[in-house]
Each structure stands twice: as C-alpha cells, then as structure tokens.
C-alpha cells in the first residue's frame, strides 16, 4: 500500500522513474561516507519514498547529511540515482517549511559568498557564534586546534568582482 501516492509521484518526477526498480540491496548505504550518521539509511529512505511515507521521508537527518559525493549513484546496480532522491526530498522538505538543522550556518555561508565572493573564516565564525552559540561551540574545539597551524585565515579576502558572484547566486535563487 502506498500511503501518499502524490508524494511518491513528486519524488519520482524529480529523481526518475527508475527508482521504482530498487531491489533494496543496500549498495547505496554501504557506499555512503556518512552512512554511520544516517538513520534511516539511504536504502531505507528510498523504501519510505516508494511506500509514500511522506512524514518519515521528509523529517529526518539523513537528507541533510548527504555530501553529494555520488558514490551511491555510481555504484547502484539498477542505475538509480539515490543522490537525486535525496535532492528531491530536500527540495520538497523546504517547500513544506522543514528546515535543515544546519540551516542557520548554511545561510551565513551563502551570505558570505554573496558579499565577498568567497568565505572569510573569521567573521563567519564570529557571526555563527552570535547567531547559534550552541552549534558553534561544538565546532570550537577543532577550530582551536587548527588556528595555531595557520589553517584559519584571519584577513578578509575578496574576489576581484564579487558583484558577479552575487549575480550568479541571484540567478540560481530564481
């Protein structure tokens, strides 16, 4: 029984109808570099989609953990693109107003690029600390290790024509 046929169709339209041919072999999950953090696994995510279980498919961390490395897509024996399934779910989640747990950070990240054309690490860290101190503190430890090794840039670096990057981002946002 398919719980929500329309939801299933929405995903299939975006990710391709070959998703229907999934044999649940788990090659995608076991190829995934972040699999250990994912619950449900990508394989289970595909199953949730096929069963039209919209709530479970959209409300989970898995879809936000995908790094788009495409190993799942390269190895799938059925020629399915599990990465596209994840992308479709992210897209639908955003339409439903479901935000990634790291949405705050991602927005800051994007703003930086829009403003400077690349990431300026120090101001970025400062702003992140202000906006969501909880999450930021978690990453502080690594930052402290990196700083003495010269791995954190202190100065604000701009690209030559940041307005062009801005244009690109605006174009993409349409």
């Amino acid at each position: 029984m398919v719980e929500d046929t329309e939801f299933r169709e929405q995903v299939l339209r975006r990710a391709g109808s070959e998703v229907l041919t999934c044999i649940q072999c788990g090659t995608c999950s076991s190829s995934c570099p972040t699999a250990h953090l994912m619950h449900p696994s990508i394989r289970q995510l595909v199953k949730l989609v096929l069963e039209g279980r919209k709530d479970e498919a959209l409300n989970n961390r898995t879809i936000w953990l995908c790094t788009s490395c495409l190993l799942c897509t390269v190895r799938c024996p059925r020629g399915i693109r599990p990465k596209s399934v994840v992308a479709a779910l992210k897209d639908l989640a955003e339409k439903e107003g479901i935000r990634s747990p790291d949405a705050a950070y991602e927005e800051l990240f994007l703003k930086q690029i829009r403003d400077y054309g690349r990431i300026a690490e120090l101001p970025m860290t400062a702003k992140f600390l202000l906006s969501s101190p909880g999450s930021a503190l978690q990453s502080m430890e690594m930052g402290l290790e990196m700083a003495p090794k010269g791995k954190i840039a202190l100065e604000i670096d701009r690209v030559k024509r940041p307005e062009e990057v801005k244009k690109i981002i605006e174009e993409l946002g349409k």
């Binding site: 788990g26 995934c32 250990h36 696994s41 024996p77």
Partner: protein, 786 residues
C-alpha cells in the same frame, strides 16, 4: 474463369446474424461467378462434397468460401478442392464469422453489408489467383554442431545415435566446455567430469561424429537444407594420429611455464600441454604464444608426434542444419574495481574456487588463501558480481550463481566443518527441481546468509574487510574474512560474434543470441535450419543446457529426416528486367534470403514470404507468389468500390498477430463497429504505400495497419519497417493537404482481441471527427478563398 462462391451458415453462428439469402444472391451477381450457394456447414463432408461436385459440373477453376477464419479452415478447403482436381492455391476465403457475424451481432443490416463487401473483395482476389506448386528440395542429412560444451555434446550424440552424421566443431583443443572444469555439480553434488567424461569419449568414438577440435568456422553460405560450411583447423603443432596423449615426455622437458586457462590462472601449465587428463581428443597442443621453439619436446617425444612446422588446415563440408552451442564466457571481475580482484590476492572468482575444490586442481582440492597458502577459515561469497548490475551493462540474472555458491559453500563446509562461511546475496534464487531443498541443506549445515550487496572490499594487514549494509537490520557493517569469492556472472562468448555475423543471428539487448520466440520456440533461431542450444541464448544450468541440446537435435532431425524439404510457395521473386540493383531489399530481408548478386536473387528456400522487400522495392521489381501486389490491389479496389458506410476503413492485418487478435475478438464476441474491410497480409511490413494511397484515392476515409507488438514481429523487424513507412506516408498526406491521422498503425498480439476492438473503435471516432475524406481539402480551399 468460372468461380464458385460458398456462403456458410455455420449453423446459426453466421446465419443467426447475416442475411444468407441476400449474400448468396449478391454473390451470384459478381463477375465470373458461375455458381453461388449457401451451405449449412461448408466444412462438413456434405459441404465439401458439394464444392467438389460443382467443380466438376461448372468446370470451376477457383473457389471462394465465405465462412470462418482462414486460420482455421483454409487447409481443409485447400485439401477439398485439391481432391476435386484443382490446384490447392486456387482458394480464397472471406472471413464472415470471426471478423463479421460474431463481432456485429446487434447490427445485422450493417454486418450483412460488410459481408457483401468482404465477399466482393474475395472474389476480386480469387480472379487473380495463380496455381502454385509446393516445391521440394533435396537436403543434406548432415548437421553442424558449433561448440563442444555439454549442450553441443548432447545435441551431437542424440543426432548421431539417431543415425545422422554430425560435424562437431570446437574452438578449444578439447571438448567439454566449462562443465569439464567444475568440481561437483548441483543439485546432486556428483563429480562433474565423472559424469561428463564418458559422454566426451562417446563423441570421440562415435562413427557418426566427425570431431574437429581447435578449429573455427570461417564462412557459411546457402540456406536451410543446404549450408556450405568452410572453416579452419588451427595448427596444434602435433600430429594427432601419432600423439598418444602421454604428455609426460614432452611437457617434462618444456622450459616454459604459463598460467593455465583451464585453472583460471591459479594453476600452471607448460607451453606444450594437454588441457586436463580427461581431454578429448587426448592429444597435446603447443601454445604458439608461449613456445620459444627450443625443440626439446620434439626430441623427447618417442612417437615423433611434435611437428613445429605444422600449418593450419582448411576444411569444407555441406550440412542441412546448424546447431549453435557457443556457450558463455565468465564476467571479467576486474571490472568491479571496488572488489579489488586482481589487486587483492585473496579475492578470487567462483570459477577459481571450483578449481581449488577440484581434487585434480592445482591445490589437489585444498581451499587455500592464495596469499599465504594457508587453509581459509572464513570465506565470503559475494553474489551477483557482473549480474543484475546496470553499471556493467548486465541487467540480467545469471541464474546459476546462487545454486553454485550454495553448492560450493556446502562442499567447503563438508570438508572443513569449522570454516565460517557467509553468503552475501540480494535475492537467493533456487527455482528448480530439488533446488529449494538444496538451499535448506546449506542452511542446516550452518552456512550464514546475509541479505546485502557488498559495496566494496578493503584490504588491511593482509585481511579482507567487506563493507555492506545488512538490509535486514539496516546496519552498515565492516566484516573481516580470509577469502572472498566473487560469484561472477555469465556473459555471451565474445568469440561467438563471428559465428553470429556469419549466420545472421540476431541478439537480445542482453547480447545473447535471440531465439525465434521467447517462449514457444526455445531452441530455434530466426534463420531457418539454425538452432541454438545452451548458454548461447542465455545463462543456463547444466540440465537445461542438455535438454536444449537434445531439443535442438530433435528439431534438426525432424527437419532433415525425410531427405527433402517441402516449401510453402509464399516466397518473393524478382523481375530481373525491372531490378535496378539498389540492394534495398537485401538490407531489409530479415531472413537474409536475398543475395547481393545483381540483379537481386531470392533464395526461395530461405524466404518466409513476409513481403517487406516487395513493399520497399522502389520500382516494384519484387512481387510475392501468395498475396501478390495485384491481388491486394484488387481487394483494395473492391473494398472501395461501394461506399456504403461512413467512415469506410481499409484495414491491413498481419497474419500472425493482428489477424489473430481480430479473430480472437470474434471468438470472444467482443462487439465493435462494422466500418473496417479487412485485408490479410503476412506481415505489416508487406503494406506497400501504394495500397494505402490507392485506398484513400478511391474514397476510403481511413487506412488501418495492424502488426505484431514492437519486438514481437514474426519476421523480426517487419513492424518497425511498417512504422517507418507509415511515418513517411503521414508526411506525404500532410503535404497534399490530407489529415495524416487518416492512416493509423496499431500493434496487438494475437491474444489482444480487446485491444484490437478498442483501437478500431477509437479510429472510427477519430475519422468521424475528421469527416469524410477530402473534407480537409475543401476546408483548406474555403479558407484560401476567404
């Protein structure tokens, strides 16, 4: 040209709907009709006798029977008129039951009208019938079997035992194929070579079999019954008559050692070798790639059998039939880079494991880790390597690997009860007699099963780690094993490509040879007189391969045992004066029956009469003996002579599928509109654009062409060609201002009566929408005028 017309009541089957008296009276008025009668049951003895009496009395030279489908009783009436002294092909039937009375039960008046038209069409065609003779041609009663694996051996032995002479041609130095290299085989776990070796020697000793090993087929010409085969026996640098097969004397002095292909690279052999002790023929062979020409073997051989100067030998013979049993080749496991085969020594293939387990193999039956030579204590079997895998282009299941791994796991477990064995599988497929029981046996032996497809293998400190998701629990795991066995799939043998091209065999998308029908004709090729057995047409286990070998033998025997072939006179023929040698027909012919010689020449033994060549010939130089251009044209003209219905549809139905579908709609009493006037053709590809244009020119509102479903054409690609022609026609119609929708092409299998009826109904509706033919022209003119 006196014609007799017989309108059959078929009890009430026809007479219950149609006005029989009216039909009889109408038939009497048609040109050349000397006598018309209505008969209660024309197929009964009384009916047939009446026809025979009339033939004598009215000196009839052709007969029209308006009754059931010709697919049912055409042979009956042909026999009946032949008894009366007429040529059996001077018969035409009008299908007024399946395609009329049974499908228009509620509209007797229109149905009778349609029946009148069908009878008129039949009479018009009958006037153009010509006497045809069934030709018989003498055939060779010898058979070529290509490939000496278990399927080829089964075919050769059955034919030879039945008394036919067989040429068995094998590419390798020995027959036996892959089966000879396996250890024990499922589901009985009996020793493979022990059951096969006696069959191999039987082949060698059989008086009716000429075994040509280490040889290749270079060319085949001719057609069913008379194939001329040409080939070459490669030089094995050994005099086969002198060699005793002792091998010790020559091989012991040979200084060159290379990996043995008969051990899949894990064992070694010398440059002069016998593949394995049971090889047939038991004759040494020198590998020219490895041999350094030192000549020590020449000195060592007491029989003086080594001949390093030997040349390849050509051979030629004629056969009546060919059995293709070219088998398979293992999937190349290095293509799955993530499994590390070729980089990690302890990752081996299932075939290498067969050799390790084999008491005659390189380790004398010990299952060891190649890296250390130690007995493996923890073994993983990875299923579906190179099968069910779109990334390597093999979507199909190789069928035997689940059972082979279950078997090998059992053999290891029985030999080393403490060994930990895990089979990683996507789906375990154990369909076959005694197969599920075999699976249960493996489970009871304590073999582990994990439902997972391993995503990669890593090697760390000499151990292998498998990474996979146990899909039953959802955990992603990394598990250590000593030895990983890749269950490699079966692929079509690449060296069979040459044979395929020579014979003109077609291939399925999975690249295996295609059989004539995926269900009903499992061992026949599309080419008459050519049969396919064993893995050449897809992965198969031993028992099925043997069954197919025997089946192919039976088919070949049936074909040739009379010593002559009777040919249906359906073939095409060329008007040599008209032919402009464009060779279009040569490309189009699915049976390779038209020769390139100029002008074109049709091999009537090979031609099956689809008529696609006739439809494609730009100068109408090709015509058909049955269903000739003139006959079909006469039917088209007769159909459009009176336009008593709107829309009037001329429908061309292919004999095998759509005509069958229309008949089935009748037997299922599916009711549909009466507008179509059906014309039977052998294939949708037969429909010449001229027929269509003539029908429209003479006032038909639409033309329907119905063929087999795409991919199911009985002549391989006739329906594709029909589609191409219809697309071009539609463009032409558009250009002259007619609605391209007036020509419609549909596909229905013989089982799809419902679809035929629905499609026809839809077409009628579409044509009603368009209005009578020419409406669009007048509309166009009107528009221009304003």
């Amino acid at each position: 040209m006196p014609i007799g017309v017989y309108v059959c009541h078929c009890g009430l089957n026809i007479a219950g709907v149609l006005d029989m008296d009216e039909l009889k009276r109408y038939a009497e008025t048609l040109p050349d009709v000397a006598v018309a009668r209505d008969l209660p049951f024309s197929c009964s003895d009384i009916g047939q006798e009446q026809i025979q009496k009339d033939v004598a009395e009215f000196k009839l030279d052709r007969v029209v029977v308006a009754a059931c489908s010709p697919r049912l009783h055409e042979p009956t009436f042909r026999r009946a008129i032949a008894k009366a002294g007429l040529n059996p092909y001077m018969l035409e039937m009008a299908n007024i039951r399946e395609q009329c009375s049974w499908v228009h039960m509620d509209r007797p008046a229109q149905a009778t009208q349609k029946a009148r038209d069908l009878i008129r069409m039949a009479v018009a065609k009958a006037a153009l019938l010509r006497p045809l003779e069934r030709e018989t041609v003498p055939v060779s009663q010898e058979v070529l079997v290509i490939g000496g694996g278990v399927a080829g051996i089964a075919a050769a032995l059955d034919l030879a035992d039945a008394g036919m002479h067989v040429y068995l041609v094998e590419r390798r130095p020995t027959i036996g194929g892959y089966m000879a290299l396996l250890t024990d085989v499922f589901p009985t776990n009996d020793c493979s070579i022990c059951v096969l070796a006696p069959k191999m020697s039987e082949v060698f000793n059989h008086p009716n079999i000429t075994l040509i090993s280490y040889a290749e087929i270079l060319n085949v010409e001719g057609s069913v019954g008379n194939f001329m085969v040409q080939g070459q026996k490669r030089a094995r640098y050994i005099d086969e008559k002198l060699c005793k097969g002792c091998i010790d004397q020559c091989a012991s002095v040979c200084p060159v050692e290379v990996p043995s292909e008969y051990d899949f690279g894990i064992g070694k052999r010398k440059a002069i070798y016998v593949p394995y002790p049971q090889a047939v023929p038991l004759v040494a062979c020198v590998d020219p790639k490895a041999c350094i020409g030192c000549g020590r073997c020449v000195e060592a051989c007491q029989a003086d059998a080594v001949k390093l100067e030997q040349e390849p030998e050509e051979f030629k013979f004629n056969v009546g039939a060919i059995i293709v049993a070219t088998g398979w080749q293992p999937f190349d496991a290095t293509r799955k880079e993530e499994y590390g085969y070729g980089r990690y020594r302890d990752v081996i293939t299932s075939l290498q494991l067969e050799r390790l387990l084999n008491a005659a193999g390189p380790t004398k039956g010990e299952v060891v880790r190649p890296s250390s030579g130690q007995i493996a204590r923890s073994i993983a079997f990875l299923q579906c390597v190179g099968s069910r895998d779109a990334t390597v282009g093999n979507i199909y299941c190789s069928r035997i690997c689940c059972m082979a791994s279950l078997k090998n796991a059992q053999l290891v477990k029985e030999k080393y009860p403490d060994t930990d064995i895990t089979i990683y599988y996507i789906d375990l497929r154990a369909g076959g007699e005694g197969y599920e029981e075999f699976y249960v046996r493996a489970q009871k032996l304590g073999i582990n099963f994990v439902r997972a497809r391993v995503s990669r293998i890593e090697q760390e400190d000499g151990d292998l780690y498998l990474i996979f998701e146990d899909t039953n629990t959802g955990e992603v795991k990394r598990v250590k094993h000593d030895l990983a066995v890749l269950s490699i799939g079966l692929e079509p043998d690449r060296s069979a490509d040459v044979i395929g091209n020579i014979l003109g065999l077609s291939r399925r998308p999975d690249r295996f040879f295609e059989i004539a029908h995926p269900k009903m004709r499992p061992v026949e090729a599309h080419i008459d007189g050519v049969f396919i057995a064993g893995c050449a047409s897809g992965p198969k286990e031993i028992q099925t391969s043997i069954a197919q070998g025997s089946a192919a033998a039976a088919k070949a025997f049936k074909l040739l045992q009379k010593g002559e072939l009777e040919l249906e006179p359906t073939s095409a023929f060329v008007d040599r004066d008209k032919c402009i040698q464009c060779k279009l027909c040569v490309d189009i012919c699915p049976k390779k029956a038209i020769a390139v010689e100029s002008p074109a020449y049709v091999d009537e033994a090979a031609c099956k009469g689809c008529g696609s060549c006739a439809a494609s010939c730009p100068v109408n130089a090709i015509d058909m003996r049955l269903f000739s251009d003139a006959q079909i044209m006469a039917q088209v003209r007769a159909a459009t002579e009176k336009k008593d219905e709107f829309p009037l549809i001329v429908a061309f139905l292919c004999n095998w599928c759509s005509y069958g579908a229309a008949d089935l709609a009748g037997t299922s009493r599916i009711q549909y509109p009466t507008n179509a006037r059906n014309i039977r053709v052998m294939c949708a590809g037969r429909v010449d654009p001229d027929f269509v244009l003539e029908a429209l020119r003479r006032g038909a509102d639409g033309v329907l062409i119905a063929g087999c479903r795409i991919g199911e054409c009985h002549y391989v690609s006739g329906n594709d060609q029909a589609l191409q022609r219809v697309n071009v026609l539609k463009e032409v119609l558009g250009k002259i201002g007619l609605d391209p929708g007036r020509v419609k092409i549909i596909w229905c299998a013989a089982s799809e009566g419902e679809i035929f009826a629905r499609q026809l109904k839809r077409f009628v509706d579409e044509l009603k929408e368009m209005g009578p033919i020419g409406t669009e022209l007048r509309a166009g003119e009107a528009q221009e005028a304003t």
